[in-house]
């Protein structure tokens, strides 16, 4: 089935710098692949067997990331910035999927940094969608999708078109080798702007400001004297009413 893998659509908050007045500087942060992206591309590769697998990315990250992992070509929307309204990025990605055209399945990382972008993408495409996906297999023209449910899992049979938001359990175990990375850079890449996709929305959320969080109020006891530290802890737990 023809699959789109949406990857590297979030900036890594670990690289954002915060100054003493609580202002956030995103300049050093790049669009990066999350653990979920790595799990998503594995699901995508299996479902796309015998058909096209197209990468879709936004912003300033490595555009060849999905190509190095099996995508045949990539579409990149260059001028996208983070937005607190997840519907904006959802709209950009939905427009990207429409531009690629003819996809049966869109696979995207569930997104630890913003878990509503993938959902909004599906809402705006008007497609069925499952979140918390662990794995999926094609059974004829339908899919058997395993997803998390409560503390267990469910296997759900669903038709296409469908969006699958995949949640990782661990970091990527087999990153591609140098040969795949070099070959990926030669695969077709189409760069488009938001205006080319007809996306003009700025979203319905304004950021009034950011501030430093109140200092964590953890009380740490020095364990150099184990009995003393334990005594202090037990007293504290008693006063919290949990003993």
């Amino acid at each position: 089935m023809k699959c789109v893998i949406a990857f590297k659509w979030a900036k890594n908050p670990q690289d954002a710098r915060v100054s003493a007045d609580g202002a956030v500087d995103w300049r050093a942060a790049k669009m990066v692949a999350s653990d979920d992206d790595a799990a998503a591309v594995v699901v995508a590769r299996d479902l796309a067997v015998g058909d096209e697998l197209v990468g879709l990315t936004v912003g300033d990250g490595d555009v060849a990331w999905a190509a190095a992992r099996g995508a045949t070509r990539t579409v990149s929307v260059a001028d996208v910035e983070p937005n607190a309204d997840s519907a904006v990025l959802g709209e950009v990605l939905a427009a990207g999927v429409r531009r690629i055209g003819g996809a049966d399945i869109v696979i995207i990382g569930d997104g630890v940094w913003d878990q509503m972008v993938s959902m909004s993408l599906a809402g705006q495409l008007g497609w069925a969608v499952l979140a918390g996906v662990v794995s999926a297999t094609a059974e004829g023209d339908r899919l058997h999708v395993t997803r998390k449910s409560g503390t267990g899992t469910e296997v759900i049979e669903v038709g296409t078109p469908v969006v699958l938001a995949v949640a990782a359990r661990r970091a990527e175990d087999k990153p591609p080798g140098m040969k795949d990375v070099l070959a990926a850079r030669k695969k077709p890449l189409e760069k488009v702007a938001m205006a080319d996709l007809g996306v003009t929305s700025v979203g319905g959320v304004t950021l009034r400001g950011t501030a430093l969080p109140e200092a964590a109020d953890a009380r740490i006891f020095d364990g150099a004297d184990p009995e003393g530290a334990v005594e202090q802890l037990m007293t504290a737990l008693r006063s919290e009413g949990v003993l």
Binding site: P13, A131, G132, T153, E157, A218
Partner: protein, 305 residues
Amino acid sequence: MDSWIIVTEAGPVAGMAAAARELGGTVTAAVVGPRLLAESTAACGCDSVQWFSTLDSVPAESLALQVADLVAAASPRLVLALDDPAGRVLLAVAATRLGAALVSSVPGLSVEGDDLVVTRPAVEGKVVETLVVPGALAGVFDGEDVDVVSPVPAAITEVAPSGMAPSMRIIETTVAPGEAAGLQQAERVVSIGRGVRKREDIALVEELADAAHAKMACTLPICDDMRWYDESHVVGTSTQQIAPDLYIAVGVSGQPQHMSGVRAAKVIVAINNDPEATIFKKCHFGILGDLYEIVPALTAAFKRA
């Protein structure tokens, strides 16, 4: 200003209803699932419940459009859902129908004039940001639960199925592994991480758990890499979320993927020998020291208590 809450699983529904209450208008719940879920929601402080009953073989997601149509017809100012997979799907489809802004984490909110204002941790907790929403808002509620003061149950109205064939079907359900270790109901939990050096050493911590009448839990590597405990003992993003009164983490570094599993714990205690360990920023109390010295002392203290 009226609000809706979407409920597809048990969770901090009363907290979500209380947050919606901030707007001053009515709070309507759309519940997709068994009758029991509709009844527990009705006792959570909302004004009325619209109940979409589902067969065991039909996932809540297959009703997303029907729920979204009902929500959009009421054109509420605010829609909230919890962060379970189905809740998020229903929320996004409703948001699209409403043309609402979509915010992925709403711990609580307030009203300022005509604006909705959300203050929340952002950038992995490095800052607190304030968002202003002048129009309709759809958000994932991730605030705390509350106790309902006057549990007068709201009326439940059953909504007839749309007649459309469901597009999805559940064909297999695995027994929730979380049940086996009993962590979901546990009031006290002691967990181990890779700070425990050898399999034999677990006995030391299990003795603490016994003395404290606590259940044992662990981090993912203790299950996946060391294979000392099975999956039902693991807590975190990719496994289970628990809400004990007391969580004692022994030799656990406190990575976000683990800590998100115990966010709802009342008191978190960390025992770690690294002063830089992240967990010391995410716990209420900590002992900086070698677990092999601290744990026996703590066990003795619990035995005396």
